[in-house]
Point group: D2
Chain length 347, copies 4
C-alpha cells in the first residue's frame, strides 16, 4: 500500500524535517524533492548529514514530468508563493498538503490584511481543509487539499478547543503567550536569528501583529460559535526547536483543575498525540522534542478564577512536518501514528 | 566619602555579583565577605576568576569582630535564614540591605503562607523599606533596613506601576508571564537546572504558586489603592541571565500606545535606570545584559483593548545586586548611578 | 525473530536512550527496565515524555525472576558497579551488552590504575569482546559478552584505525583533542554540569587523566601492533549531545588528503555507519545528531606534514546506546542497521 | 589628562565592545564614532541598549573634519579595508590602533598569501608595532601605529611564548586546537552563524588554512629565533564569547608542571592580565568572560613527555577591544589596567 510522495521546497527546515520523517514511514516512497534554488544538486551536497540515508537529486519544479508518478505532494514553501504551485498540482489531480499559510484563512480579506499578499484562488480556498486532525479528522480524510496548521496555532488550539464546552467561558478573554525556538523563523538569514543576537536572549516580536492571530481566531470562532478576538505575543527563545504556549482564560463558574483535566482527557480520548498531564505536572518543550506529541497542562487559580493552560510541541514536528504526515496518514486511512510513533528525544 | 561594606553569603550568585559590582564602585571598600560554608578559604579558591582583582579571605559570621568596622551589610542568603543574621546586625546598629524575601511582605501571615517559614520579627518587618527606588526613593534614603525586591517583582512592577494613573484600569486584570535565565534559580544543584535538562527547554514552574505573587500584589495594592489579585506564571529558559516579563492589562477607555509611552516617560523622568522604548520597538533581555537597566515597551491592541507591556532586566543586576547597590547609593545620598552606569554587554 | 530484552539502569541517560532506540527496533521486545533507585515506579512518572509510547513499570534487580524470559541484557550502570550484575546475568546464561568501562580494558592493572576500582573477574574479562563493530564485527557475532566502547574511544578510534596502514606513521605521535556535550557527564548533579556553569563556557577537564586513554591505547596497540602512548584532552562544551574529536598525527612520508580519503573509504567499505567526507568538507556534531553515524574528515597540512582528522558522533548513540544496539544486531545476525537507519535530526 | 578618541567601524562587534569599554575609561573622551553604512543615525537606533549611556550620532568618514580634535583613532574594520583609512589618518598625524589583520604580518607576501588581499603600504607596515603588550610593551609605548593582535594569536602566544626559554623545545612541534564563541565571526550574516546551525554544534572550520597561522608563526619565530611551522585548527562552539586554545608541545628534557608554572609566573611577573593557574587547576572561558584576562594552565604528561597548555580569553576583550585599550594605556604611559580592571562576569 505504498504511496509515491514529492516534497516541494525540500531544503528549508520544514522540507528537511519532512524528509527525515518520511524516511521512517513504512508506506511512503519519496520520489522527488523539488528545490527551485538548488535544483540539479544532490541533497547531500547541501546537507551532508543526509548522505547514504536519503540519496536524492534535487529536481526543478516541472510539474508534468516531476510529479507524473506522484500521488501526494507536500509543499513547504513561503506563504504567497505556495498557492501558485499548489494550484498547478491540483489541476493535475494531485493530493496536496500545504505547510504555508496560503490556505488556512477562509476569508480572503483576512489573508490580505495579515499576510499583505494576494490570497489563493477561491475554489482552492474553499476546498482546503484545515489540517488539525484533533478537530477536523473526518474532513481531512475526504480532502485532497490540506492546509497544514501553523506552529503556534497548533499548540494554542489544542490547548484551547476543549474550553468551548466549559460553561461561561468567553473565548475573547484568551491571552496566549508563545515561546518559540529559533528554527521557527526558518533558514533565511536575519540579524534576529544570528547566533550572537539570539543566544542569551528572550525577545518578543510582532507583538499583536503575528499572522497566526486570525488563524487561531477562525478556529476558536468555529469551536465556540461566536466572534473571537484574542491577544497573542510570540517570543524568540535561545533554543533550536520547540514551542510552548502559556494561555490564560477567564472563568465565570467554579471549576477545578481536576475537572478540567478529566474533560480534556475525554475530549482527546481518540487522539494519540495529545497527552494531558496530571494536576501539578507541567511539560517543557524538551518533553516533546523531535516527536509529534502535544503535551498539555491545566491549572486553575482560584484566587483570580483564571485557567492557565500550557501546551508544548516540537514546532518542526507537530507544528509542521509531523502533523503533515499525520494528515497524509488520515487521507490514506492508515493508523495516524504510522511513521510517527517515536519517543521524544531526551535529553 | 568611602563606606566600609560587608557581604554576607558571598559565594552564591547574588553575593558574587555584589562583589563584581562593588569592585567598580568608587566610594566602597569591601571589608569582609562572609560565607558560612566556605569560611577560611580564599575567595579565588572557590572562584578562580576573582584572582588578583578581589583578594579576600572568606570570613565566618562573627558579628562583633567581623562587622566591627563595617557601615553597611549586604545579606545574600536564603529566605528564612537571612532574618536571623539581619536581626543581629541591626542590634549592633548596622545598616542592612537584604536580598532575601524575608522583609518584603508586610503581613506576616502572607510570608507564612507563601514562604512556608516563620516570619521575621515585627519591629524589623515594620521598619524595613521596600527597596524599589523608582517607587520608594524617599523612604530608602532614610532607612537603615532595605528589603531589596525580588527579580520578577522588579521587572513586573516597573512595567505596571504607571498604569495606576490610567483611568479605568483594574489591576486585578493583570496577567504576568515571566521568563527567567537559569541563574535565577541560584547555585544549588537541582535536576531542573542541570545543563542537559534546561538546555533546549522552555518550561513553566510553580504555576500560580510563586512566592513573588504576594510581593507584586502588595506593591500594586499600594499603588492602585485597592485589593489586587494577579496571575503570574514563571518560566525557565535556556540562558544564564535575564528576566523578561510580558504583561497583559485590560483597558476600559481608549488610549493609544503613544499616550501610554508619554505617560511612562514622564512617570520615570527622574529614574535613570528605566528606559521606555518608542512605539513598535521591543527589548530583549540582551539589551540590558550585565547592567542595571530596566527596558520597557508598551503596545496597545485595539482589537481587544488590552495593553501588552514588556519589561526586561538582568536578574542578577537590577533584579538583585545592582539594585542593592542603587539602594546603597540612595542611603548615602550619592548619585544613584554611582558604580552602576555601565553599558549593557552586547553581544 | 523477536528477542526479549532487558535494560538495567534504565533511568540514566544511556538507559533512556536505549529505550528510545529499542522502541524503533522491529525485532526487539523490551521486557523489563530495571532501576535500583526507582523500582516500583512507572517510567513515565520519572520521565513524562515516555507516556503512552513506552509504558513500563521499573523493576528491581531480581535476576531470576526479572530476567527469566530475557535473551539479551543491556547494562547501563556506573563503572565498578556493572561488573557484579553482569557476572550474575552470565551465570544464568544471559547475553550481555555492557555500556560501562568494566570490561573494556584487558589488563586488570590498567583498570585499577585508571578507574581506581577493583577489576571484573578474570573469566568475564577474558571473554568480553570489545564492541566496536568496525573493528571487531566477527568476534562480536560469536560473543555473549560485549564491552560497548566509550564515547571518546569510539570517535577517536574510528578516526585513527585506518592510519595503521599508512607507512611510517607512529601512533605515539597521536594527539586527541576531544569536545563533548554535557550529557556525556550523565545525569548526576555536579557544579560543572549546572546550567549556569557550563553555559557560555568551554572548559577542559581531566587533562591527561581521562580513563578513556588506556582504552584508546589498547585498541591502537592492537591495530598498530606496537606500544602506544597518546595525549588526550577532553573538553566540556555548552551543548547537550555530541562528541567531536580533532586528532593530529605526524606523517613521515608524503601522502595527500585525497589518498588518505580513498584509503579510509575502502577501509570502511562495509561499515554503514562511517561516512568519510570529501576533501575540504568537515563535519560538525550536528551532522550526526540523534543518529548512529560517525562522520570523518581528513586534512593533510603539507607545511608541517601532519594529518588532522576530525571525527563526529552523537555521544549517546554511536558513543553509547546506538552502538550497543548495533552490537545486538550483529550478535543476532541481523543487518546491523536494523532500527538505527535514521536521518540525523537537523537542525 | 584626557585624550580624545574616535572609533572607526563602530557598529561591528569589535567597535561596539570598544564603546562599552571606553565608556568605563576615566581618561578617555569618545569624540566620534564613525560608521560608513549607518552614518547620520543615532547609535541607539541601531543598538537600543546604548540609550542614555552613550549618546552619539554616527559620523561619516571625513577625516579632516571628523578627526580634527582627535588624538587616538581605533579602527575596527575588515582586513583589506582598514589599511586605507589608517594611511589617511596617519598622514594627518593621528595615533592609530588597528584591530584588523592589515598591519600584523611584516612580510607583505605572507599577507597576500593568507589574506588574498593587497598588503598595506611599506612604510606603515614597517612602523606598525605588534600590540601584544606582554611581548612588546616597550615598543608599543613609542609607537604611533599599533597592530592589535588577532584573537586566536593572543590566546595562543600568551600560552606559548614562555616555552622559548625551556631547553630543547622545538616550536614546530606546536599544535594549537582553538575553540571560539560565535561572536568571533562578527556581525555578518552567514549560514554557519545562523542560530539553528551553530547551536548544539561544535564544528571545525578553515582547517590548516586560518589567516592567524602566519601571525602566530611570525611571533614564535621572533621568540624562538628560528623558523616555525605550526598546526592550528579553529572550531566554532555554541556560545557568544570566549576563546580557549589547547596547545600541545613536545618536550625533549624532563620538566615538571610545577617547574613550568614557576617559569610562566616569573615570565609574566609584570603582566597584570595574565594569570597562571596552580597545577591541576584549569580555566574555562567563563573564568575570563567580559574581562581582559588571559588565564593559563599547564600540564605535563610524563607518559608522552608532552606539555598541554590551556589558554582562555574573552575574544572581544583581551582578544580585541580590551587589548586595544590596554595598548592605548601603554601609549599614554598610564597604568595599563586603567579602565580594564574589572572582575570577569560570573556566571
Amino acid at each position: 500500500m505504498t504511496v509515491q510522495v514529492a516534497v516541494v521546497g525540500g531544503t528549508g527546515y520544514g522540507g528537511l524535517e519532512l524528509i527525515r520523517l518520511l524516511h521512517m514511514h513504512p508506506y511512503v516512497e519519496l520520489t522527488s524533492v523539488i528545490s527551485h534554488s538548488e535544483s540539479g544538486e544532490d541533497l547531500h551536497h547541501i546537507y551532508p548529514h543526509t548522505k547514504n540515508v536519503v540519496e536524492v537529486n534535487l529536481d526543478e519544479w516541472n510539474i508534468e514530468e516531476t510529479l507524473e508518478e506522484v500521488d501526494y505532494v507536500f509543499f513547504s514553501l513561503p506563504s504567497g508563493i505556495s498557492q501558485k504551485y499548489v494550484a498547478q498540482a491540483r489541476e493535475l489531480g494531485k493530493n496536496c498538503i500545504d505547510l504555508s499559510g496560503d490556505f488556512r484563512l477562509k476569508q480572503a480579506q483576512l489573508y490580505e490584511d495579515w499576510y499583505k499578499n494576494t490570497p489563493a484562488n477561491e475554489k482552492d480556498l474553499e476546498e482546503a481543509v484545515y489540517g488539525l486532525p484533533e478537530k477536523n479528522r473526518a474532513n481531512i480524510e475526504k480532502s485532497s487539499l490540506v492546509a497544514n496548521p501553523g506552529c503556534y496555532p497548533t499548540a494554542a488550539l489544542l490547548g484551547l478547543l476543549p474550553m468551548a464546552e466549559i460553561e461561561g467561558v468567553d473565548p475573547s478573554s484568551v491571552i496566549i503567550d508563545g515561546k518559540t525556538g529559533v528554527s521557527g523563523a526558518g533558514k533565511s538569514l536575519t540579524l534576529a536569528t544570528h547566533f550572537t543576537e539570539s543566544n542569551e536572549n528572550v525577545k518578543p516580536y510582532k507583538v499583536g501583529k503575528h499572522q497566526h492571530i486570525p488563524e487561531i481566531e477562525q478556529l476558536l470562532e468555529e469551536q465556540f460559535a461566536k466572534e473571537v478576538n484574542i491577544t497573542f505575543t510570540p517570543h524568540l527563545t535561545p533554543m533550536t526547536r520547540g514551542i510552548l504556549c502559556t494561555m490564560y482564560v477567564q472563568l465565570h463558574n467554579e471549576v477545578t483543575a481536576e475537572e478540567l483535566i478529566d474533560h480534556y482527557r475525554s475530549f482527546y480520548e481518540s487522539d494519540s498525540f495529545v497527552r494531558v498531564r496530571d494536576a501539578g505536572s507541567v511539560p517543557g518543550t524538551k518533553d516533546v522534542y523531535s516527536s509529534n506529541f502535544c503535551d498539555i497542562a491545566i491549572d486553575v487559580d482560584s484566587r483570580t478564577n483564571r485557567v492557565t493552560i500550557v501546551s508544548a510541541i516540537d514546532n518542526l514536528v507537530k507544528g509542521a512536518s509531523g502533523q503533515a504526515i499525520q494528515n497524509l496518514n488520515i487521507m490514506n486511512g492508515w493508523d495516524e501514528r504510522t511513521g510517527l510513533w517515536t519517543l521524544p528525544m531526551y535529553p
